[in-house]
């Protein structure tokens, strides 16, 4: 079934068949966070040489914040049950 999906897949036309591990969609948020961090720091930094370091810091902050928010929400859901 998976092999058939991969063979039938046409890039940019068909949706990407990557949803077998249920957590895969969350992994796809990582490149999005990286792009947001780079673009934001490209706009905010006065000196271009500071962009990589500050973008890395923002990227780590976003990821840690999202994981913390997910953990807190999971804890609340478990507590409410």
């Amino acid at each position: 079934m998976i092999l058939a999906d991969v063979i039938a897949f046409t890039p940019f036309i068909d949706p990407l068949p990557v949803w077998q591990p249920d957590w895969m969609w969350a992994v796809l948020l990582i490149p999005l966070c990286a792009a947001v961090a780079v673009v934001y720091k490209s706009i905010k930094c006065g000196q271009v040489s500071r962009i990589p370091r500050e973008a890395l810091g923002l990227f780590i902050t976003i990821i840690v914040g999202m994981v913390a928010a997910a953990a807190a929400l999971a804890g609340i859901v478990r507590f409410m049950r």
Partner: protein, 148 residues
């Protein structure tokens, strides 16, 4: 880059238009080549990534530009900020078999990527236009960095 090497700043409306047409082009006009390159690579990669994840039909344009059809597909407002590439993608998406549309998380992540690409380009557009306004102002010409 010294002030002598810096190109003559373009008018702000031209900067805004070019920044929408090609992500990062506003900075390019202002002589900020590295910044322009970073914006271009990131915005195009995120937009292309969204189309790759969800298929081209995640670019779901309303049938008319009236308010109600547009409000029924609000993500397109974000997507179209990426530039003409989103309009071309919307036209191409109309010619793709409707059976090949993404569902659930494929649709959500693809739509999120493409709309975020447009909103990142909007940030870059606003900043490049603001820098252009400051650079052309007689009293503050050539100010470096983000004034905000």
């Amino acid at each position: 880059m010294s002030s002598a090497d810096r190109p003559i700043p373009p008018p702000a409306p031209l900067t805004a238009l070019l920044a929408w047409l090609v992500p990062g082009a506003g900075y390019w006009l202002l002589g900020e080549r590295v910044r322009a390159f970073l914006i271009f690579i990131c915005v195009i990669s995120v937009f292309g990534g969204g189309v790759l994840i969800g298929g081209i039909r995640v670019i779901d344009a309303p049938t008319t530009l009236a308010v109600n059809p547009l409000l029924q597909k609000p993500w397109f407002i974000g997507q179209v900020l990426t530039g003409p590439i989103s309009v071309v993608a919307a036209v191409l998406a109309d010619h793709v078999d409707p059976e090949r549309v993404a569902h659930s998380r494929s649709w959500e992540i693809g739509t999120l990527y493409t709309a975020v690409a447009g909103m990142l380009n909007l940030l870059a557009l606003i900043d490049a236009t603001h820098r252009s306004v400051i650079a052309t102002a007689p009293s503050q010409g050539g100010k470096e960095g983000n004034p905000a």
